[in-house]
């Protein structure tokens, strides 16, 4: 394994600027790593030629001293992002072969900044899942195996993005986070997962799952790297009516300054029955780290936390059932053989969508249909207002919140495929953040007794990613997490 692939984004950037290494060398090293990591199944559509080509352009710009903020940095993006001329399928058979003639806003910003595309990354079909097992490309395997040798989930739905960064196939990657899909895989793979505030990044060109919750997210191996990347992908876009027209701070320089006097809330409801004691212990330990660095720890209450999950599983499928109505085999994508239009719809969608997607479409149609709308959809939107109000209240007293990212470490692939509800319950700590549109980050904090990573989550005020990242950096500094998975996948 090339040493270059161990480097962080930050270090690569320095090396490229100082011409210690060329962008093409950097790209080749990562293309090689991707090529050898087939066993992880993290990359669905590798784009090695494009990566090298883009790197050659980067080298020209670097030679002329005019590189962008990410000049020569190779990375992959979740298959939820539309990338011009590269298949973009949301890991669904229904979009088989779909090659968009357009680029998502967020990825456009990456290429503008000089980054190179290594490939499209595996995920749950239409980002609906928490284990990256439901997509058309099959399951992603977590690079971590801990003390056992079972194949574990890398989490989901951005499992490919997390596994690729954890396995050193790329320094950073993009995922999307609708109910925890960046933070939970980050926790399961020992990486940093950042979900920006709703509206911070444009949704233009991201294949929609649940529009009021979807947000692009970042997977990285350090808080600094995630801050650098956020600075590139954040910003207003007039093509998305929910994109916020507010200033983007220089997150990297905002990292300095420490957390002295920062008020950190500990929401007591983020503890559930059956949660391993080691997660509780880690939580207390992390609070201690922050206190040592000068923060004030305050216990707070978010009383509607436990209602967030059922509300989420009403609202997200409702939006999804409508967002996915466009996949019908007429304008693009897969089309089944059929007599008549209704059969065309029914068969195309039956053949094109997988089990979990169908389940959510049915759920969503049900909660929106006549007679059930008030009891489910409207009720859920009222509960959502209460969940958001809880956060508003505590953010009058504290600057960030500290809580576990997940109630467990990575579980075995296949373990929860037959128990839908158990899988949904794994999102309990991540979902409230999406309902309220807040920024949050998962930072790897330690390995558990089985040798598997555990993450701590920090939640910030809407659009105050700067404070959030500073707190995350403090946790990272104290945790000193430097474990690396054994490269068992590499021949």
């Amino acid at each position: 394994m090339s040493e270059i692939t161990q480097w962080s984004l930050h270090r690569l950037r320095e090396a490229l600027r100082k011409k210690e290494v060329s962008a093409v060398e950097v790209a080749r090293a990562h293309v090689d790593a991707v090529g050898k990591a087939g066993a992880l199944n993290a990359v669905t559509t590798p784009t090695p030629e494009r990566a090298i080509e883009m790197a050659e352009q980067s080298d020209k710009r670097l030679a002329g001293g005019e590189g962008g903020a990410l000049e020569g940095i190779p990375l992959g993006v979740k298959d939820m992002f539309c990338t011009e001329g590269v298949a973009s399928t949301a890991c669904s058979n229904i979009l088989e072969g779909f090659t968009p003639p357009y680029e998502s806003d967020v990825t456009e910003r990456l290429w503008q900044a000089g980054a190179c595309l290594l490939g499209k990354l595996n995920c749950d079909e239409f980002a609906m899942g928490s284990s990256t097992e439901t997509g058309s490309s099959g399951a992603v395997c977590n690079p971590w195996r801990g003390n056992g040798d079972a194949r574990l989930t890398a989490g989901g739905s951005s499992g490919g993005s997390a596994a690729a960064v954890a396995a050193r196939l790329m320094p950073v990657s993009l995922g999307t986070d609708t109910g925890g899909s960046v933070r939970q895989p980050a926790a399961f793979t020992g990486t940093v997962g950042l979900k920006p505030s709703y509206g911070r990044c444009s949704r233009y060109g991201i294949i929609s799952y649940a529009s009021s919750l979807d947000q692009a997210g970042i997977l990285a191996r350090s808080v600094t790297d995630s801050a650098i990347l956020l600075g590139t992908i954040a910003g207003h876009d007039s093509r998305d009516s929910t994109s916020a027209d507010i200033e983007v701070p220089d997150y990297e320089s905002e990292l300095k300054g420490g957390i002295s006097k920062m008020r950190v809330g500990i929401p007591k409801e983020y503890s559930v029955d059956g949660m391993p004691g080691e997660i509780d212990d880690l939580w207390k330990q992390a609070a201690g780290w922050l206190e040592e660095q000068g923060a004030e720890i305050i216990e707070v209450s978010l009383p509607h936390t436990r209602h967030a999950l059922p509300a989420y599983y009403i609202i997200a499928p409702a939006e999804a059932s409508s967002n996915l109505a466009r996949y019908d085999g007429i304008q693009y994508g897969k089309r089944a053989k059929a007599n008549g239009v209704d059969e065309l719809y029914g068969r195309t969608r039956a053949e094109g969508f997988g089990v979990e997607v169908k389940r959510r479409i049915l759920m969503g149609s049900y909660v929106l249909s006549a007679g059930y709308y008030d009891a489910y959809y409207l009720k859920a939107q009222r509960v959502r207002a209460l969940v958001a109000r809880d956060f508003d209240n505590v953010f009058e007293k504290v600057d960030v919140l500290l809580a576990p990212t997940t109630p467990s470490a990575a579980f075995a692939l296949g373990e929860k495929t037959d128990d839908v509800l158990a899988l949904y319950l794994g999102d309990i700590f991540t979902v409230p953040v999406n309902l309220a549109g807040l920024p949050a980050i998962s930072v790897p904090a330690k390995l558990n007794g089985e040798g598997l990573p555990l993450g701590m989550q920090l939640i910030g005020r809407r659009f105050d990613e700067a404070t959030l990242l500073r707190a995350a950096k403090a946790v990272e500094d104290s945790a000193g997490f430097d474990a690396v998975p054994q490269a068992w996948w590499s021949p």
Partner: protein, 96 residues
């Protein structure tokens, strides 16, 4: 709460998902279980609480003026279409 097969059949038809009998039964069971679990929301007091209406501010702030932009050529627009005829998308004949 148990959903009737008839209801699932209706929902599947509304969603244009062709389901075999065994699938219908599986989804009936799944949805019954999930909706049961969602039933806990009933106990939440939401009296006087307005439904959440998003975080985007007012739409008018995000609106644009009435200027036009070049659209993709029909060739590009139809480049991903599974079937097409003379610049049109096609579907099996519709009887009105």
């Amino acid at each position: 709460m148990s959903i009737e097969t008839k209801t699932i059949r209706q929902i599947a038809a509304l969603s244009r998902l062709h389901l075999e009998e065994d699938e219908l039964e599986q989804y009936r069971e799944d949805l019954s279980q999930i909706l049961d679990w969602m039933g806990q929301l009933e106990s939440v007091n939401t009296d006087g609480v307005d439904a959440f209406t998003g975080m985007g501010g007012s739409l008018l702030e995000h609106a644009r003026d009435d200027s036009t932009a070049q659209t993709p050529s029909p060739d590009v627009l139809l480049s991903n279409a599974p079937e097409r005829v003379d610049g049109f998308f096609t579907v099996p004949k519709i009887l009105e």
